[in-house]
Symmetry: T
Subunit: 151 residues, 12 copies
Amino acid sequence: MTTKLLLLNGPNLNLLGTREPAIYGSTTLDDIINACQKHVQNYKVELRASHSNHEGELIDILHVARRWADGVIFNPGAYTHTSIALRDAISAIGLPVIEVHLSNIHAREEFRHKSVIAAVCLGQISGFGWQGYILAIDAMLRHLGVLSDLD
Amino acid sequence: MTTKLLLLNGPNLNLLGTREPAIYGSTTLDDIINACQKHVQNYKVELRASHSNHEGELIDILHVARRWADGVIFNPGAYTHTSIALRDAISAIGLPVIEVHLSNIHAREEFRHKSVIAAVCLGQISGFGWQGYILAIDAMLRHLGVLSDLD
Amino acid sequence: MTTKLLLLNGPNLNLLGTREPAIYGSTTLDDIINACQKHVQNYKVELRASHSNHEGELIDILHVARRWADGVIFNPGAYTHTSIALRDAISAIGLPVIEVHLSNIHAREEFRHKSVIAAVCLGQISGFGWQGYILAIDAMLRHLGVLSDLD
Amino acid sequence: MTTKLLLLNGPNLNLLGTREPAIYGSTTLDDIINACQKHVQNYKVELRASHSNHEGELIDILHVARRWADGVIFNPGAYTHTSIALRDAISAIGLPVIEVHLSNIHAREEFRHKSVIAAVCLGQISGFGWQGYILAIDAMLRHLGVLSDLD
Amino acid sequence: MTTKLLLLNGPNLNLLGTREPAIYGSTTLDDIINACQKHVQNYKVELRASHSNHEGELIDILHVARRWADGVIFNPGAYTHTSIALRDAISAIGLPVIEVHLSNIHAREEFRHKSVIAAVCLGQISGFGWQGYILAIDAMLRHLGVLSDLD
Amino acid sequence: MTTKLLLLNGPNLNLLGTREPAIYGSTTLDDIINACQKHVQNYKVELRASHSNHEGELIDILHVARRWADGVIFNPGAYTHTSIALRDAISAIGLPVIEVHLSNIHAREEFRHKSVIAAVCLGQISGFGWQGYILAIDAMLRHLGVLSDLD
Amino acid sequence: MTTKLLLLNGPNLNLLGTREPAIYGSTTLDDIINACQKHVQNYKVELRASHSNHEGELIDILHVARRWADGVIFNPGAYTHTSIALRDAISAIGLPVIEVHLSNIHAREEFRHKSVIAAVCLGQISGFGWQGYILAIDAMLRHLGVLSDLD
Amino acid sequence: MTTKLLLLNGPNLNLLGTREPAIYGSTTLDDIINACQKHVQNYKVELRASHSNHEGELIDILHVARRWADGVIFNPGAYTHTSIALRDAISAIGLPVIEVHLSNIHAREEFRHKSVIAAVCLGQISGFGWQGYILAIDAMLRHLGVLSDLD
Amino acid sequence: MTTKLLLLNGPNLNLLGTREPAIYGSTTLDDIINACQKHVQNYKVELRASHSNHEGELIDILHVARRWADGVIFNPGAYTHTSIALRDAISAIGLPVIEVHLSNIHAREEFRHKSVIAAVCLGQISGFGWQGYILAIDAMLRHLGVLSDLD
Amino acid sequence: MTTKLLLLNGPNLNLLGTREPAIYGSTTLDDIINACQKHVQNYKVELRASHSNHEGELIDILHVARRWADGVIFNPGAYTHTSIALRDAISAIGLPVIEVHLSNIHAREEFRHKSVIAAVCLGQISGFGWQGYILAIDAMLRHLGVLSDLD
Amino acid sequence: MTTKLLLLNGPNLNLLGTREPAIYGSTTLDDIINACQKHVQNYKVELRASHSNHEGELIDILHVARRWADGVIFNPGAYTHTSIALRDAISAIGLPVIEVHLSNIHAREEFRHKSVIAAVCLGQISGFGWQGYILAIDAMLRHLGVLSDLD
Amino acid sequence: MTTKLLLLNGPNLNLLGTREPAIYGSTTLDDIINACQKHVQNYKVELRASHSNHEGELIDILHVARRWADGVIFNPGAYTHTSIALRDAISAIGLPVIEVHLSNIHAREEFRHKSVIAAVCLGQISGFGWQGYILAIDAMLRHLGVLSDLD
């Protein structure tokens, strides 16, 4: 059976590769999605990527995902620190969600240390640049039993 | 003359009945709207229901309501705790707004105790499940003089 | 079977109708009790009203209520914000208690926003003047199944 | 016409003269009341003194005072720092109330610096031992126009 | 010479044994007093027990105790966390007072961690259920020299 | 060469002129835009105005602006105080942005004193009503060297 | 022997009578000084008045006062809330100092509730308008034994 | 009739042009005053500039200004963040005051974000270097009706 | 069967009897251990005492104790207020642990009021000097059923 | 060339598999180390594992690691939240360090949300149980270029 | 070449020797200056001492010092804790400044622990009485290379 | 008689000279100890240096020092900010202790501003690099009367 994953990105991540490369690197969002697609092609995994700058749209996408996805890799961007609505959406859909951040949010401004969604996620990966998405996919596949510790 | 009420619901309330029933019950949003419609049919009251997961759309709906509605029953979901923009929208439209919460927000996580919109609402009703909407409609009809204390 | 309700009022509410009418209205506590009595006369409901300015006396009254009442409508006045002893009394008696406030406490001074008893009550109704008591009775009767949503 | 004043003392002040004399002096509450009575005998002033360790009783006494007194000299003892109910009682009765403290509360423990009733009193006098009551009577008589600045 | 102890209990402790047994156990207040009386019968100790739900009454009882008692075992219930008036009463009477709590207050809600009276007590014993009273009596008898470390 | 400016307005500003005139004045958003257009007509300046109540849409508009605009005059309304996502959008586009507020936000409720976007803007102008936009345009033109200090 | 008092006024008090009369009344500083001079003329009291808007000058005046004055009546104006240097000056000179405020500082903005000098003053009198100075003089004369409680 | 403006500068601004040019630029205070004089010469405006490093002197200057000036452009330097005395002076003189800052204070250290005088000023302009003074003059002339929106 | 107890003491307690006797008394740690050994000799109790100034060593000792002890009497000294690692060790070993303090930590500096380990202990005894250890042993024996309330 | 990694574990992690399995799982520390060794055997990677309950020893081990290791996988246990000394050690050695937590620390008690070492680590991985170590090794190998995104 | 140092003292330090000797010792400011002059006479050092109780004057003195001095030894007295203006003056003049305090400010009232100027000083010496000035001179001479570590 | 001093260094200071030279300089700990030994050789002073990364070992060393040393020069490294156990050790040994920091801790991250041991030390010297140790030795010798102000 195919495992289905949603790769969801929040506000300003569409500018990746051009936006403040010192913090976020020069890889574009498309590059990342391609690398992720490539990474999963050895498994029976279907990966669908989505992006929105709109908090409400991200909620809508998560709501839809509960009807098709087995897990969500989510970089909520700045909504990480403010959106209780996204937190509630994650609780509501009942899917395992892994929170990913390109930069190490714990090493930046004080207001970026706190994630209001972390408490309802499976786990958090931050600080490894675009490779964090690869790690998150691995973590999800291990969580779902697709990738065993004998790989 | 017909009294016109807007019944407005915010993020994740579309999942009611399926989302975390231990907290929110098993009644769906449609069930609630139907019960409310049934409740008002003895009065000359027109009730229009609206829902959005988008903060901006909720603002738009409130803006439009000032041209047709006499009062608003509003469950802002998680935006209750974060949206100064919704607070300003309520102030701006000049209509009486009653804040409703299904769960008793004062008995949940600390961050749910504070409503940033309460100060510009007529009043707040929380903790009575879907029946809170019925109570809010009664409260609004009493406020508007449609329902007198001699009922 | 008759449903028995305690209508309990805390400090300074005996001055209602004379005290700061701009905030609390001109209805006296007796007026309110009469309106409540009238409101419940269509149901098999017995309503007993009590008042005290003494925190200890309010605790005593709640303790006694657990031997006869099915539910409590409680306006704790200023003790709302300070009395952990009343909170413990409510927990201890195991009855459903609804917290009522005449004014919208969330729209007043910062120190009135926090209710230390809310977390152990069924729900909270605030901002609807004396009609809040009527709404609270309805909420309690609905909670106890006396008033069904088909009324 | 006779000016009528209530001299009201709160918790533990009955022990004055015996309790921690280093902080509160060796004068008893009766000594103070006698000195106050003597002080007002040159004016058409009737002074009634009352004491209680019970917050509720102090509220009751204030409620009664609004039917006979022109002003209140009030040392609320430790309730100064915690009793919003007394604050509401002072607002409710609409009489001028002067807050007196024997010790300089602003020079003691942090938790004694804040008076929750000060904002609804005419003024505050603290740090002058039992003579603070005499000063408060003078302040009240000046406020009521009994004592003019030409005395 | 007989040592005289006051065993004083505050708000809601009269409901012990029925109130929230998961937290407070199933022993009633009378059971505890009996066990304490039995415990002291081998010593020349007179133990008088008192209870009140009223903060003011507890103050009154402490004031009276200074005329007859050698020490006080005190469970102030919820007033532990709010009553500066009781703190002042303890300071004022000059007797050794031991604070007892049935539950481990440091393991419960944040607001129960802070005791406003602890700083003026001899010591604090919390978390040992009703046996904490026995321990407190022993601690007091040791403090008063009735029970030597050679028992 | 023509200088191109974006005049961007956030939530509820579409109601200007009708919304709480005591705070925001009676000029409409269209009036303001017209005055701004008139103000810039002596310079080689093209001014495009945009408005949205949606945080995500404001982000989208800013993203697009980096492809055509030389600077942004931005009144983020209530998002000023909550939107880290807008802050990140401003950082990401690399254009000079001037924050404008009609009212003096520092003289209003505490929660309006803090701007989460100010740190990434060129500067802030607040308190001058609709004329603040004119001042902001002048500030931007001076910053871009279009308006020299010899005007 | 003549008792010598310094009547010291801080920043903006020179504008009294013209500045915000709703808060500070219409009496000028000269009127107050004259009333104080008249008030002390029945006693062997010499009263010298001083004013400065400069924190440093107020310190200098206090330093000089320790060589001639028996006590100080001090209204530090806004420096009340910020000047640790004035606090240190009061400690350093070793004279009894009474803090006076025209308005009830405890009933105004939060930042006016805290006096950083109160802890080193004899006492504080606030809320009685210009008559507070008369009360403060009486308090000082009582403290110095010039005015006995048999007046 | 000539409009008269005070251009007032606080502590350390006399070092402008030499002090930390990375933050404050290389323009001297005299350069700024000259540019401002030049800027107003097309209007019937008299501009007088003043500077002091002394908080008390700044208060004195503001007090004098109420007898001759129509408005004040004020850069209070570091006193912005600490001087309630200056705040009171601004309230007391009843003139419109515009607060100007060379740097964007909201983008610097946390303690520079808060202005204790902003709440009593007409508005605030920060972040535009010395050109902020020009903008402030325009804002004041617009406020006073000297410069109409048809300029 | 023999009951086995660990009596564990943390940093600086080896200096007992010499260190600040005003706070900690003049009894040495050896005196205390001897008194405890003597106290348990009437019961089938084996008591082993241990001390370390090293946080890590205290953790090691607790880890070992889970293999032999039935309960732990623990005075963690200053680590009480800072060591989450000790808290985790207590949780991890699953033994009943009683926290003892010689002085009344709630009556000392603010930073000593908070115990980070209390929440995972059975209970806390503080303020009874070295006799607190005897009380703690009794409490533990009662908890383990070795000492019944019929002693 | 062989890549050398230190796998370092802090306090209480030696009890893994036995300690609170609901939070930490039933895998022992040896199981984890074995799984890690197996995971790296396809690469030229040498992995050395170390554990200590002592903060100072962990510092010593890190100091030594700078002489032989290319990177550190570190689970500091409870020292995560308190040890600035470990933070300084990580800064001092100049090696890339990845912080790993078995449980999702952001979903547990408030005091576990804050890592004082995160700011000096490459990144943080939390919430994936023992598989988090595997993910951390992959992250480190990717960071060091041993594992390319083409694996 | 002669090294020139400014020895600058702030508010209330002119009273040294008479003011609260328990805290500040019995040495006068002149004694200290003489000891400092004597201390530097073996070096080519010119030391000029200055004192003011005025914050503004201290700023003026620092401004002048940048034209003649090589370093500043500064005891800002109470302005240490409040004067951002002095902090800015120190930054502005670009000279090395050493902060000296007679008493150990970290061992006194909480509000004396924080120095708002420390962050822009070379270093801080506190708690060594008047000898702290000698140490500060040595520290400055070492910093300026006048005194080498071979002395 | 020979004066005996302990020079004690805490965590990570063994890496001095290699660790972050931008903050801590390039001098090694051995270099510093040598310079200190050389500095004291003109006096009858014996200086013993010790270092540990272990909090418990530092406590042990301090305990031993009370049997041989006359004073302690202590750089506690990061334990400065967290170790109440070290604070208690310093109080317990009753020796004069001087706290030294290489960097100006008040100019670094907020969490380095607070020293939990400062209140029990003689004084604090920070910001002068390794020369701070020389200054601290001088300060100690002056305190002990070995070095008089006539040197």
